[in-house]
Subunit: 133 residues, 4 copies
Amino acid sequence: MEIKIKIRGYHTDLYKHVNNARYLEFLEEARWQIVEEHMEITDFIQNKLSFFVVNINISYRSPARVNDVILIKTGLDKIGNKSAVFKQEIINTSTGKICIQADVTFVVADKTGKAIALKGEIKEAINRIPNVQ
Amino acid sequence: MEIKIKIRGYHTDLYKHVNNARYLEFLEEARWQIVEEHMEITDFIQNKLSFFVVNINISYRSPARVNDVILIKTGLDKIGNKSAVFKQEIINTSTGKICIQADVTFVVADKTGKAIALKGEIKEAINRIPNVQ
Amino acid sequence: MEIKIKIRGYHTDLYKHVNNARYLEFLEEARWQIVEEHMEITDFIQNKLSFFVVNINISYRSPARVNDVILIKTGLDKIGNKSAVFKQEIINTSTGKICIQADVTFVVADKTGKAIALKGEIKEAINRIPNVQ
Amino acid sequence: MEIKIKIRGYHTDLYKHVNNARYLEFLEEARWQIVEEHMEITDFIQNKLSFFVVNINISYRSPARVNDVILIKTGLDKIGNKSAVFKQEIINTSTGKICIQADVTFVVADKTGKAIALKGEIKEAINRIPNVQ
């Protein structure tokens, strides 16, 4: 799954680079699209279950600036009993360089906020998310 | 009611100025404090009623930059039957200039999202908010 | 000029509505696109001139929520000697209602931050921006 | 170094929790204060040198909600030849629980954006930053 965003003034900070916090919004945007495309299962649609991010390990490699077009790539890395990991990468198509790389670990929580076991229909749905190339 | 904020890198954009949208967060911050101090009435505490902003008219007069300290002033301007208006002003104490001036019109909505009449206890509480000097 | 955005979790606040400040980012996004399409003149490209917003008058009419798709319409309203006004409107295509309407007054500033007269090539470029329908 | 922030509506998202990206702004806020207090050396003041974050490893442990007061703790973890690490932790004083824990790795870059060796005056200044308790 790939999405493109053109960098605008409000994305950047005094260094004229996209701010560290803003990248997390870009990554969240891409994850919503992934879930939308691959997790069309009743319990998510009815909001009985939610994704919660429990860890983000993000490396900032090279900056993106106004007018640069970035490409966000997201894929499944691995799935465990209680948590799973997305790999996300943002490429600056204007420079050809990697902007950031991130491992995003998430759980699926029920209405009480408790992480549920990743098995059955939920596990199958997560496994339908393609790996990052 | 006055609060101070020191401008940091993440508040600013590529022009090295506080971004237009960020000022609205500063203004919202000041309004939460106003409501906290003057609207300690049961229906707000129990979330039966909420403030909803229906109009913001904001003039950007001079920029604030990293390390500048801004002062946010908020006061009641006027109160009508269904809506009321706050006057908010942000002073850049580092330059002595006015950064922005804003009129913020709000209603009080019930649980269904419908604006209620500003009378009785609610009107008295709003009227306890001091005017801007 | 019209752009569409799908509302995601990070756009919304505790009321489950798009936050007031976030709308200003949506409006800025649309203005960057307008300028990109219609203001391809050397002085902007070389950053000798910049747009500065001097006033935003925004009315919040009805909320947008997660998964709603909004449509941002932007057009020129009027052009004066020193400032000009965009009309911007956001429609919630999921409800058919208007989310917000805004008049955005801007000046064109030179490298020193001083507003220049809107005449000649600059005025012609601004006048190429279509009116809102 | 400790700072307190009261959570407001604009900090939270549709889950009524502080959004993942917003925590990075809180952490940046705390780092600006650390640098301000401990790095008063000429090269930073004259903007010849800047901090650049190269990695953030953040674990989200328990949510913060509107009206909660959070406490941000920041300290030096370790210092290497080219990079150093801050430990940052946010405590929700309203619940007594840890909201997030983060390791933030940074370099010091010169005007060209190149990371410089952490030695001499720079290293001494960084070493003046207290460890997290």
